[in-house]
């Protein structure tokens, strides 16, 4: 492998890590505060991807994508709010079996709705940032650089939200002890709704941002959900730093695994081997929170 190729694959891994981080951060944030694994997280991502593609293609290149992104995030946030109020509120504190099945049911409903509304065909959208860079003799999509930048901005935003705002302080307090937080006069019920809406919005943001770089079909929900789980488990559920580290690992493994002929068919298997290995040594992942 030449240095140019090495650089290219590393940058490809970073681009994978970028969108995966946005999705996994939402999953992890929700788990940290609500102690619920959201099986419908991938479905929200898929909804956002389809909404973005449809709007972008309607409105036209350039501006269309950004309009689609805004609408998609708003739509997924709204769906998140409805799901939290109608379903999640009734499963907090119950066995995690009930929580898994409740959000799984939501994912079935959302996935079914997506197939009815958008059909089963793959869709694509033109990149809002066309053009390629020259990377050591190889061409690299400018849009991938945008994805990496977006992930960094979002990581900084999530960090600032958690550590520099009242909302973030309350979320961190809710992670530690929701009952005590409630007793100090914070409306924890509303806080949970807010957190879930933010988590859903992040899933949507991930789906929107990924849309120009992939073909969007009606099975991307489970594909991304499995990877987001792997990231959360490797990094540790509930930890934003863990999500970042996990996304980097998974993004790189997929990028390098796919290009090396000997490992190509097993690229995804490597992700799960790493996931198994990490959990075997550290049962809560690299930066994980204990389960309540």
């Amino acid at each position: 492998m030449t240095p140019g190729q090495l650089l290219l694959f590393a940058m490809g891994g970073l681009a994978n890590a970028a969108y995966l981080f946005i999705v996994a951060a939402g999953l992890s944030l929700v788990f940290g505060a609500l102690r619920v694994i959201n099986m419908a997280h991938g479905s929200l991502y898929m909804v956002a991807a389809f909404v973005t593609v449809v709007i972008a293609n309607q409105v036209g290149a350039g501006l269309g994508f950004w309009a689609g992104l805004l609408v998609a995030v708003a739509v997924t946030g709204a769906i998140g709010g409805v799901v939290e109020v109608l379903v999640l509120r009734r499963v907090y504190g119950r066995e995690h079996l009930v929580q898994l099945l409740g959000t799984y049911a939501v994912s079935l409903v959302v996935a079914g709705a997506v197939r009815i509304v958008f059909g089963a065909n793959y869709r694509t959208v033109a990149s809002p940032i066309p053009g390629h860079l020259n990377l050591g003799g190889y061409s690299y999509a400018s849009y991938s650089l945008f994805m990496i930048a977006a992930a960094i901005v979002i990581a900084a935003g999530v960090w600032a939200m958690l550590y520099r705002t009242n909302l973030g302080r309350n979320i961190r307090a809710a992670v530690a002890d929701p009952d005590l937080l409630n007793a100090t006069g914070v409306n924890v019920t509303r806080l949970y709704t807010t957190v879930f809406v933010i988590g859903a919005g992040l899933a949507g943001l991930g789906g929107s941002i990924v849309a120009p770089s992939q073909a969007i079909g009606s099975s991307i929900d489970t594909d991304v959900l499995v990877l987001a789980f792997a990231i959360s488990v490797i990094g540790g559920l509930g930890s934003i730093i863990g999500s970042a580290v996990g996304s980097l690992i998974v993004g790189m493994v997929i990028s390098f695994g796919l290009v090396i002929p000997a490992t190509n068919p097993f690229a995804l298997a490597f992700v799960f081997i790493i996931m198994t290995a990490v959990l075997t040594v550290r049962p809560r992942g690299l930066f994980g929170l204990p389960e309540n």
Binding site: V91, V98, V109, R115, F266, A269, F272
Partner: protein
């Protein structure tokens, strides 16, 4: 599980439903033939084919429910074992040209072997992380099957053509029904056995299960492997009627099918998932044929409705029916025991008898040898020395209290003794045996019963079962995969329930009793273990003054009658001085002093610790 022992009428309705199900299964082929004669549009072959698929789905779902309903484990890898079974049959038939029945015989063992190995890995984590690990394992197995093109056929899967005598639909149907029937019978025997009782107690409360001597991880691995074994049979049968195996069978989302089917039928009954399987197949072939996209939504709506509203699934129908009927017939029914015990149990026993027998044991104390010896025990949490260099001895037959202000290290000391925590240094010796750092289930078996500070019982099991399962575990019967658990020690458990004043409520789910009565169950469980030493962590926490007096009289009486040694910690000084014969005072993780209650009462250091504590509290407030 109370559901296995319903009220008499419910029993009749339930067995009636089971009979109808069996007759229905037996009559599907003739009914399908009749249907074809009446409606020439329909194909009896297809109907029988659907019946076969429902049978296989029933077996698969019930094997899943061994984990889901009976042990409380959510696995995403179960479909992978189903797939392993299917590929075993297909590969042995196609690549090695052996009869398909050889493959079917090998399938359960292949699936169980893969289940055992991967289960060992998944066992590194518990609950949610366990579920996520099974997800990784499932995807790993899927990618192996998907990518190993030369052996497994990759994404094409493997198609086989069965010999003529097995490709007749009716023959295949009855063959499948027979295999499924045998498997169900084996699984039914298993869940009713003492082994099944151990699984139920793990589902209800892992901590309590370990504290009555059940090795939780080993039982979980065993049922995980057994479930994989039966999933392998189901996968093998699938290949026989579908004549193909394909990689999607192993994909993690394939687990949705047995889960939905189990939920639909009811996860708390044995045959519930079988009913769910037939409903699912009918739904799948009516709705999904016409509205393929809507089917997901309908399925999701059903799962949501079941999860949020009817956790019992279809199998709850008889109970719902009974409840409605009772509403109409109120007044005619015989008087029932109250649904809640309201703390009455504590009032039920004879205090005079307890006090009269007090004298018997007083002599034993002085002649007693050392039962529990703790040597220089320490435990740090980071920089905090929760327990530091604690040494103490508990004599046989003694009632030894450990007192001290909050944060003195009393609960940590208890957790070190019973294995919930491992000591940083020092030794715990019970009756001459070194039990330092052993896991809780081993320590429970060596003879230490424990009542926790936070009530730790099996809430959905009846009071009698709570005690019975503790006795089963203690006697080592829970390794038996045969026999009927609820018939073993039933009398002894009832007797013990009566001894603690809970006889009238022995059939009620323990979680329905009042706080004081649940404490009594907690104490009774530690007694059911036949332990030499019983540890009580604040036995009267949260009780009223009246309940406290009664409960401690109960404890004293039982200790006397059963020659128990007590080690307890308590904040209520009247409890300590009325019950203890020896008192150890702890302060900031260390032993301050030890002696008789009278010596402790007079000790100026002890007074200082408590007064100092008081002053601080006053200043702090």
């Amino acid at each position: 599980m109370s559901r296995l022992f319903p009220r008499f009428l419910g029993d009749r309705v339930r067995w009636g439903a089971v009979l109808v199900l069996f007759v229905f299964v037996g009559l599907i082929p003739p009914l399908a033939g009749l249907n074809e004669n009446l409606n020439p549009d329909t194909s009896s072959r297809f109907q029988i084919f659907l019946g076969t698929s429902a049978l296989v789905l029933a077996l698969w779902a019930i094997s899943y429910n061994l984990m889901l309903g009976y042990t409380g484990m959510v696995s995403f890898a179960h479909a992978a074992y189903y797939g392993v079974g299917a590929y075993t049959v297909a590969l042995i038939f196609k690549r090695y040209h052996l009869p398909v029945l050889v493959g079917l015989g090998a399938a359960p063992f292949a699936a169980a072997a893969v289940g055992l190995v991967t289960g060992l890995v998944a066992q590194r984590a518990v609950r949610l992380y366990f579920s996520l690990l099974t997800l990784a394992i499932s995807q790993l197995l899927f990618s192996i099957v998907f990518s190993w093109y030369d052996f497994t056929g990759g994404d094409n899967g493997i198609s086989i053509t069965l010999p003529d005598q097995l490709s007749d639909y009716t023959t295949l149907y009855y063959f499948t029904a027979a295999v499924v029937g045998i498997c169900l019978l084996l699984m039914f025997i298993l869940v009713r056995s003492p082994f099944g009782a151990a699984l139920l107690s793990i589902r209800e409360n892992r901590q309590r299960a370990a504290a009555i001597g059940i090795n939780v991880k080993v039982y979980e691995l065993a049922i995980y492997t057994i479930a994989a074994l039966f999933a392998g049979v189901a996968g093998g049968l699938f290949v026989m009627y579908q004549q193909q195996a394909y990689p999607e069978m192993l994909y993690w989302t394939a687990n949705a099918q047995p889960v939905v089917v189990s939920l639909l039928g009811g996860i708390s009954t044995f045959l519930g998932p079988a009913i769910g399987a037939f409903i699912y197949v009918v739904l799948d072939n009516t709705i999904s044929k016409q509205f393929p996209y809507q089917f997901d939504i309908i399925l999701g709506a059903i799962v949501l409705a079941v999860v949020l509203a009817v956790p019992g699934g279809v199998s709850d129908a008889p109970s719902v029916f009974l409840r409605l009927r009772e509403r109409f017939r109120r007044g005619e029914e015989a008087e029932k025991p109250p649904a809640e015990s309201a703390g009455e149990a504590i009032r039920m026993f004879d205090v005079r008898k307890a006090l009269a027998s007090e004298a018997i044991q007083a002599e034993k104390v002085h002649s007693g040898k050392t039962l529990l010896r703790i040597e220089h025990l320490s435990r740090n949490f980071g920089g905090l020395r929760a327990v530091e260099d604690v040494s103490l001895e508990v004599k046989e037959g003694d009632r030894h209290a450990i007192i001290g202000p909050n944060g003195a290290g009393k609960s940590t000391l208890f957790n070190l003794i019973t294995g919930q925590l491992k000591p940083s240094s020092g030794k715990v010796i019970l009756d001459g045996r070194d039990i330092t750092g052993r896991p809780p289930h081993v320590i429970a078996k060596t003879g230490i019963g424990r009542a926790f500070q936070i009530t730790t019982i099996f809430p959905k099991l009846s009071v009698r079962q709570n005690l019975q399962y503790a006795m089963l575990a203690h006697a080592g019967y829970t390794v038996r995969p045969f026999g009927i658990a609820d018939r073993i020690f039933a009398g002894e458990a009832q007797e013990l329930a009566e001894a603690v004043g809970l006889g009238m409520w022995a059939g009620l789910p323990a979680g329905q009793l009042s706080h004081g009565d649940q404490r009594a169950i907690e104490i009774a469980i530690s007694l059911a273990l036949g332990s030499k030493l019983v540890l009580l962590d604040e036995p009267t926490a949260g009780m009223s003054a009246y309940e406290t007096d009664k409960a401690m009289e109960l404890v004293r009486r039982l200790a006397t009658e059963r020659f128990l040694t007590l080690l307890f910690c308590e904040h209520d000084m009247s409890v300590v001085f009325s019950t203890a014969r020896t008192v150890t005072v702890m302060h900031q993780g260390r032993v301050l002093t030890a002696g008789t209650p009278e010596q402790i009462r007079r000790n100026p250091d002890v007074q200082k610790v408590y007064l100092g504590e008081l002053e601080q509290e006053e200043v702090g407030a």
